[in-house]
Assembly symmetry: C2
Homo-oligomer: 221 residues x 2
């Protein structure tokens, strides 16, 4: 259709492209919680047709980032302290399960992956915030992915994204850097490499609870 300028060359389907962009806009808060998402408006914003936009919104519904109101369109999922606390609770529960399973299955290849992801994350912390966000998620997911439990990983990934949204909303996405998060990551990594399941899960959960308390204190009731 267009001149097929594959300078970017990565997006195959319009639906998938719209999905990625919309997801980003909602996660970062550029499309604020509760906002009505009109098809026409988004069609312009993402310059594509109405069908891809609709499908992207349907997909985001599964990620719980968009709500569909039957016959009345879509809107960005609302936020609440209650919702945030549930996310925190579930993350602690599910990530503990996944991390323990990962350590049970530990092998050299996994340890290599961990070390590598950790290194990349440290390097990325000097680059832009977006680079760090990506590397941070990659490190956390690497901790879990040796569990070989795809459904569980999917849930963890979903909850991770829901959580990061609250970080962006509370403080523009950089507040958590002020704590000494590097040390916390190092502790988790070391425990995992030592196959110390109890220690690793304790550090991981502390890591989440600490961030959680800070964010929770910043929100209205």
């Amino acid at each position: 259709m267009d001149a097929m300028l594959d300078t970017e060359g990565k997006e195959t389907s319009a639906t998938h492209g719209a999905y990625r962009k919309l997801r980003e806009l909602i996660l970062t808060g550029e499309l604020p919680p509760g906002q009505k998402l009109k098809i026409e408006q988004l069609r312009g914003l993402l310059d594509t047709g109405a069908s891809p936009v609709r499908e992207a919104l349907s997909l985001l519904t599964s990620d719980m980032l968009v709500e569909r109101i039957d016959q009345r369109g879509f809107r960005a999922a609302p936020v609440s302290k209650c919702n945030f606390e549930e996310i925190l609770l579930l993350r602690c529960n599910l990530e503990e399960t996944a991390l323990r399973a990962s350590i049970t299955n530990a092998d050299a290849a996994w340890e290599d992956r961990l070390v590598l992801r950790h290194h990349h994350m440290k390097k990325a912390s000097q680059n832009g915030a977006q680079d760090f966000e990506d590397a941070h998620k990659a490190f956390h997911m690497a901790l879990l992915d040796n569990s070989k439990l795809p459904l569980l990983l999917r849930y963890c990934s979903q909850l991770y994204d829901l959580n990061i949204r609250y970080r962006y909303l509370a403080a523009g996405g950089s507040s958590y850097k002020k704590r000494d998060i590097a040390a916390e990551h190092q502790q988790i990594l070391d425990a995992a490499l030592n196959h110390d399941a109890d220690g690793a899960t304790r550090h991981l959960i502390d890591h989440y609870r600490r961030t959680g308390e800070y964010l929770s204190s910043q929100m209205e009731p």
Copy 2:
């Protein structure tokens, strides 16, 4: 458009109707695992347009009942013993969390709901299998829904559906009736009404494990 014959009168949007029907077809195994889901074919089967079918398939993707292969359409999600065992594991974990929270929040209204759902389930066991299925799910979800944790409930509901699919696939949906399932339900109900969190979760998990072992034994490696 049509003569709007609202004899049925419940389905508002074509998308939602297609979603419900497709979901049913996949859960019961009428559309077997791994099967290619061609738009045209479904368009005929559900007699509606291509757009509602497409959106319904997108929604089912979130339920993990349909897989989307980029640019290559959709297919019914595959099954495997591995996948089944993960579902069982996660259900035990998540439903325990939810049930304990429900009991923590226990009040008279919840207990009434439980008794009622249990009664309806017993009554429905004399009706058709579909009626019983619905009542069975309603009872199990009632056990959990006093947790007031909507995300958790959503995951439990999803996993419940994924599990029931295996029941249909393994034995046409009626095999589990041969065990004395009524007694097991009664035990769970009684423990819940007594606010006995340990007993209730133990009975619930045994209930799942027993069904799980039976189904697992019926599957190829």
